[in-house]
Subunit: 250 residues, 2 copies
């Protein structure tokens, strides 16, 4: 089976680090990439600072198949992501003629401020990523994909971008709910994990109407391996008289 491609998400924005804004993009990107068999292995959040962005981009693009950045590509002084990515690659920022054309087509003459036209500046050699919502494109340099922070626009652009990515076998995930506190099933679970090393088993405690339980997430690229690990666990649970349910996600 082919190796699973990996990804990192780099979230850029002071507003996330100050607690003013709750990031909503990481979970979305992770789920969408998961359907393509791409596994998000790391995420970082950095401030709107050129040096911090450049350093994180260089660190992450060397480690993972893909890097997706979010935020910092608007028209204001604190939008410095394009410059940060340009620094990372040691390239100049240049005005992209096609991006400029799209912005000119989108904004009527009296709305074409210099600040807005700056959104056509990309690192030299970048490929544009279409923006079906508000014209200003994202861009790709090598394995780095630069996307906006506004969730609705990011979602639309990510959908358009997906066919460009080489995926892997999609990760299969099954969730079993065990009606027992995780501390009382942990030893059996560790034994199941040890017998199925190719399946990642995550254990997430919950409390529902005052009753503690544990959601167990079995994940692997190979559905047979997932099925075997789940069956093994169900056997263990039956022997221990633990009630279980399979959670079917809507």
């Amino acid at each position: 089976m082919a190796e699973t491609p990996t990804a990192a998400v780099l979230i850029i924005g002071n507003e996330i680090l100050s607690g003013r804004t709750q990031d909503a993009n990481l979970a979305h990107i992770a789920r969408v990439l998961g359907t393509r068999g791409i596994r998000v292995k790391e995420a970082r959040v950095v401030e709107d600072e050129v040096a911090a962005i450049a350093e994180a981009v260089n660190d992450l693009r060397a480690r993972y198949t893909y890097v997706f950045t979010t935020g910092g590509i608007g028209p204001t002084h604190d939008d410095v992501t394009a410059l940060g990515v340009a620094h990372a690659f040691g390239r100049p920022l240049v005005r992209d003629p096609e991006a400029e054309r799209r912005l000119l087509a989108y904004y009527p003459p009296e709305k074409r401020t210099a600040a807005r036209m700056k959104m056509a500046d990309v690192p030299q050699g970048a490929a544009l990523i279409d923006n079906p919502v508000s014209a200003a494109p994202g861009f790709q340099v090598d394995n780095v994909f630069v996307l906006p922070g506004v969730p609705s626009i990011l979602k639309a652009m990510l959908d358009l971008l997906l066919p460009r990515l080489e995926g892997g076998p999609p990760l299969i995930s099954r969730t079993i709910v065990a009606y027992v506190p995780e501390g009382e099933i942990a030893e059996q679970l560790a034994a199941v994990q040890a017998r199925h090393p190719a399946v990642t088993i995550g254990s997430y405690p919950f409390m529902r109407i005052g009753t503690p339980g544990t959601s167990l997430v079995f994940r692997a690229a190979d559905p047979d391996l997932v099925a075997r690990a789940v069956a093994d666990f169900l056997e263990v649970a039956r022997a221990a008289q633990i009630n279980v349910d399979e959670e079917v996600l809507a």
Copy 2:
């Protein structure tokens, strides 16, 4: 004015990177630390893997005044944060007698599984962080604070922990809402930012009932500097006939 202490947040958990769970702790930690004058400069999310945790801890603790980790300190096989932090510091994991005492007091004899008692294992020399909710403590090693991922427990523990931290002058933040798209105010705003380099001005576009606007967040430790930058901007907005409001956060 004393230098502002800095912090990084390290979020540990496959469930965040798979998109199964939406992190809610970063924004809370950032806001609480902000009230103590501690600025969160970076956040990372890594998987439940000892090597990834150890590497991130070592990278972050060298860069920032404080590091706060969340997640991975429960009783199951995928809870490997304590081991990751121990590796980062090159120390063994040892059973902490006080943590053990608390767990023994909390769990009746038939509930004292080996997996639960493992929650008393901390890197040698760690100081415990009290857990007023569910007994299992967090711990501190040097400038690294290890906290749980369950938001309600994390909040309670962070409150107890705050007095241990040396804060700085609290960051003052004022938000001005300008009823204009950010692309049409960006140039004036860049000029205001240039005249007030010690104040961080963030620009966040929004759409309310179909009308675009921009929230401008002025942030600095010195309230006078914030007031001057805000006054300068209000003057600019008045001259440009832009309607503004001050947003008072509840």
